[in-house]
């Protein structure tokens, strides 16, 4: 049921999907974001939380965040938009030579999964309310500046 473009890579998530965590993520994000509405892909047996955004970055007219969160606190937060641009912040074990940690980032425009493209994730907080807030802050940053610059930057370039 995964809508990800890199099915094999997302296999590394550990633990069952945590329905309660998906609802928590929805609540934190939608409370902060007037453009957002959240829904589970299946109310009783969800695999993904869809956060629908009624506008996208730059020319995109709509966007969506797809969130998977497991009971062992592995996650995917995947941005996709009306112009089919994708990027993803992940935490789960992976086979990439870098980064050494579970946290990593698949950059736009296609949430690239080749080892040279995968970066360290700028999201280093781990508590769900903080990850949801960080995803929101990054979304707002790129939405308001109308470009993806700094979407995974710890510090904006000078």
């Amino acid at each position: 049921m995964s809508s990800h473009d890199s099915a094999s890579e997302s296999h590394a998530l550990r633990g069952p999907t945590d329905r309660g965590a998906l609802l928590d993520f929805r609540d934190v994000f939608t409370e902060m974001e007037p453009l957002a509405e959240g829904e589970l892909d299946d109310f009783l047996e969800p695999s993904t939380l869809h956060i629908h955004l009624s506008d996208g970055v730059g020319a995109a007219e709509s966007a969506r965040l797809d969130v998977i969160w497991t009971t062992l606190h592995d996650y995917n937060v995947h941005y996709t938009d009306g112009l089919d641009r994708n990027l993803r912040w992940d935490v789960h074990p992976h086979d990439y030579p870098a980064p050494p940690d579970d946290g990593h980032f698949h950059p736009q425009p296609d949430a690239a999964t080749d080892p040279e493209s995968v970066e360290t994730s700028c999201i280093t907080v781990t508590e769900l309310p903080l990850v949801a807030r960080a995803a929101h802050a990054l979304w707002r940053r790129v939405y308001e500046q109308e470009s993806f610059d700094g979407v995974n930057a710890v510090v904006n370039p000078p």
């Binding site: 296999h11 998530l13 009971t71 907080v125 802050a137 940053r141 510090v155």
Partner: protein, 174 residues
């Protein structure tokens, strides 16, 4: 609308500051514990909730009293805390009953049972844990099996809760 991190500010520092400003220590301890399924010590929880061990301990005791968390003895006479499974199941059951009626719930429970049966047959194993040990099973499929099992059990609890509530109501009316 929360403010954006100013240019150059680390997004992590920004959201931690914001979280601490906008919530009380009790709220943070509670939201951290809401999804803590393995026992942890008060100092660890305090660090996660951005508060002091003393404050965390006070709130953990309150949460234990209300049944939200379980208190467990650990080595060296210390105490560890985890989310109460009972409280977690009830939380999810209530969320489901707010939206789904009994008929649809029964229907979906039937479908999830079918799915579990199919996994058991496919892997010739009683549980995803058995399947993982006994053969080279695809880990994503085992994860889906674990997810379905978890959701099935919560759905069954929701149904039992709704039926028990109905019975209690009916008895009252006689």
């Amino acid at each position: 609308m929360p403010e954006l991190p100013p240019d150059g500010e680390d997004v992590n520092d920004h959201v931690v500051d914001e979280w601490v400003e906008e919530t009380t220590p009790f709220e943070r301890v509670r939201s951290v514990m809401k999804r803590t399924y393995e026992p942890e010590s008060a100092p660890t929880i305090a660090e996660r909730a951005r508060t002091t061990p003393t404050t965390a301990r006070t709130h953990l005791r309150q949460l234990a009293e209300s049944g939200f968390v379980d208190e467990l003895p650990a080595s060296g006479g210390t105490t560890v805390y985890e989310r109460s499974s009972e409280s977690l199941v009830l939380e999810q059951a209530h969320d489901i009953l707010d939206t789904v009626d009994t008929e649809r719930l029964i229907d979906r429970i039937g479908k999830m049972r079918e799915e579990i049966r199919a996994y058991r047959e496919k892997f010739d194993a009683d549980s995803p844990e058995d399947a993982a040990i006994r053969r080279d099973a695809d880990s994503e499929t085992l994860r889906e099996w674990q997810t379905t099992r978890r959701n099935l059990d919560v759905a069954k609890a929701a149904l039992a809760l709704s039926q028990a509530e109905e019975t209690v109501q009916r008895t009252k009316a006689v």
